[in-house]
Symmetry: D2
Subunit: 271 residues, 4 copies
């Protein structure tokens, strides 16, 4: 639920739930001072008719409000990968043991190297090389395969291609990316080499939604681990991969659990 804030919103919503015989298990609410926007996430128990409940809520709320009713069924996910396996294998293993509330429908790679791992877990792998075709043509191929799965979420699990705004648009706020983060940040190529040269003491990872500027969408999760001068750039990269995969898995868990709202360029997360 997202709505312009006004007095009595919680009262009005909970009145509807009460009238429909639904019991609230957990309720989180937040008013974003910038923009005066009201966000609420409610977990409730009880049977309901989605049409009737939706209509009753719409009637009680401001016209600009949006409500999303969910029954918490597993959602469909497609992963995009390049050559690095760590995020992919993390998600495939969790999926294989029923720890993700999701169906990983397919993996799309612009290199072939992660095909065997993917198939070993019984998931289809689409090899769509980017070589010898234009960016537009390659993105069109990927979008076509994606469209066939109608995924709820697309995860860039170390997909090392810049995406055009045209690719991002149809999956706005449904496209999750992971990337390394440093204090301070490093712009340009070989960030681990730069971080090593600067002697950073901390390595981090940030999972975020992709918007039109690749690495600047709303942040979903972040975590860091310590490092020091004795680690080579290669060892720092290994530590970075450890953080990346855990942060990406955590971010995906949060979105699959419908705990994440996006407002302007930030997230409101009820975790």
């Amino acid at each position: 639920m997202q709505s312009p804030d006004e007095p009595g919103l919680i009262y009005k919503i909970t009145a509807v739930l009460f009238a429909h015989g639904l019991n609230i298990l957990r309720n989180d609410e937040f008013v974003e001072p910038a923009g005066n926007v009201f966000f609420m996430r409610t977990e409730f128990a009880g049977a309901f008719d989605a049409g009737a409940l939706g209509a009753a809520l719409a009637g009680a709320l401001p016209a600009a409000a949006t409500v999303r009713l969910s029954d918490n069924r597993p959602q469909d996910v497609v992963l995009l990968v390049t050559k690095e396996h760590h995020c992919l294998s993390e998600l495939l293993v969790r999926h294989a043991f029923g720890e993700l509330n999701a169906n990983i429908r397919a993996v799309i790679g612009n290199h072939e190297v992660l095909g065997p791992l993917t198939r070993q877990f019984g998931v289809p792998f689409h090899y769509l090389p980017h070589a010898e075709r234009s960016r537009e043509a390659h993105e069109a191929e990927v979008l076509a395969v994606l469209a066939g799965y109608r995924p709820d979420w697309v995860v860039l699990a170390k997909y090392m291609r810049i995406l055009s705004p045209e690719f991002v648009a149809p999956y706005a706020n449904r496209l999750v990316n992971i990337h390394h983060s440093f204090l301070p940040a490093f712009v340009g190529a070989s960030p681990y080499a730069q971080a090593h040269a600067r002697g950073v003491k901390i390595i981090g990872a940030t999972a975020h939604f992709v918007n039109e500027q690749l690495d600047e969408g709303p942040i979903i999760a972040q975590r860091v681990i310590p490092t020091d001068h004795t680690r080579s750039a290669r060892e720092m990269a290994q530590a970075g991969r450890d953080v990346e995969k855990i942060v990406l898995a955590r971010a995906l868990e949060l979105v699959l659990d419908e705990r994440v709202f996006v407002h302007r360029n930030k997230t409101i997360i009820f975790d």
Copy 2:
């Protein structure tokens, strides 16, 4: 607000607030599955008559519910100390610069060494030595001085005396303690020496309410920092002090902001 859970509680409470013209700024709610207890913390804007609002809420809620209305004024705090300065100085400095929503009314020490630091910040210091009197007699003296201040909260800022259940009882869930924590835990004297001998890699601190078993009350805040074999027991103790003071200050901030509920032996914290 704390209440046995039943359908419609949020609806009933927010109806009362709406009827009194109060606008909810932030609302946190949690149902503890063990015991089926409902907890809610609401921040709202608007003028209210405490008597009328309290009566209206009481009328709307189950008989066993408890409601606490607050205007967020600074609360009164008394600190108990022994010889270590780090927690005391942290709180005195924050207090001096208006960063604690509290009045530190006094400091009571069973040693004299922290008197000068306390007075330097313009806070009364009571020296109540424990030597040459029984535990009962000493505790009675401390309780008498405390009673004169009628504090909302009593903070054991490295007070190194075991407290009797008789001392604790009148300040149940209003007595905050800080102590070092290790993975694994060490029982008995010289915990830093034991932790050093075991080669722990992490040092932590736990702020908690005191109940009848000194170190086993509900946990308010915890934090850790890394260590390794090159640190002497003395250096580990310094790192431990750094964590302790930040964790104690954070815990105090949470209770002063009325974000902490206690249920059985755990806390529900809306931070």
Copy 3:
């Protein structure tokens, strides 16, 4: 290298290396004040004859010194598991992609459930059920299979059986275990349920060598992540698994890289 401390040790060792034309790349040295024991780990470049170099070092050092020469070849590892997959899959994936300096020769399970995952990665799985036989008989079977592989290291990757001192003895300081850790610690069954009931704010994991008291051997690595009252015991367990697998993998990396010395009940780690 481990030796009773005496003046000139570094000088004597480096003189031997210099005389053999070996160049030191990295040298770490530590004198443990308790026991006055000298530890040193040296990485050097250059070709050497192990017999001649070992003899020269032995001649230069106190009789009680021990020296281990290594060429950093992959070492042999066998894993013991029960039903939980997270540590096993973490290690199998790293192994499959060449990120562990080890050969995982086999996995032994007292349940059958992790057989398919193991075989999927091309590693032999031995199912040795503990049901309907004595502890002695079961341990004898496991030891017999282990002996066939002559492993350098045995990893308890969530092996949920208590080991007898007779089992542990032949693998002293070569048997690595992982277990959850809390602040404070919880003794007995269902630690996550206890930690949840106590409202801990931090979940940790400790990787350690196994000695005769199962969870009290020298600590190799520890890490923590934050939690709060909103997480169910089940969600806390998931977060605990995430930490456990990363900490176990890190600990194994440290021992495979020969960075870990054991002294009394602690580790000296040159990382």
Copy 4:
């Protein structure tokens, strides 16, 4: 000790120490692959004549090597501040209780507000306002006061003025600064407001040496703490201050203990 790397360096140095009857307590050594530079820090016990020992070491080492002999006496420190008290009070309290191996000789402020706190701890405060004079003139006044104390280290304890290269040059690698850090980094004014708008999940602090580009000198220490959308920009700033002061104190402890070497734009820290 810092030197171009060549075979036998540790051997040659330890031979000199052995010949002078000095016993090594702890030795750390590192060869930086970029530039092939050898760094070593040795703690030893025993009486020595600095002139004779220095000459013997110089004779044993390459001409380009630099050696620094120290007897670990308290070093002189001057602090520069503006209006924020948290780093200043942290250092004054530690100093007052003998926890810093330093003499805080004076505090210089470009505002007057921190004078009372400083004097309360018996430390001289110099108020040198920047208003109504040129940057050059103001810096010249600060440099003149600094020069009178001949400090070993100058600490920018939240000194909010940009320093010119002329100011920095005479204190190269002896000028320590602290600043907030975010993932990702934010350039420009009001970083906490920017970080809040972006919804960062982590707040960090970096202590570093100042070089000619203010915030880009070699990093000494970094630490982070978690945050989330419920914290206002003001609360995030409080958490940021908590991290800043601990990180600055830790960095100062490292430099006072002579554990920090600078090489190009990074630090080698033997902690």
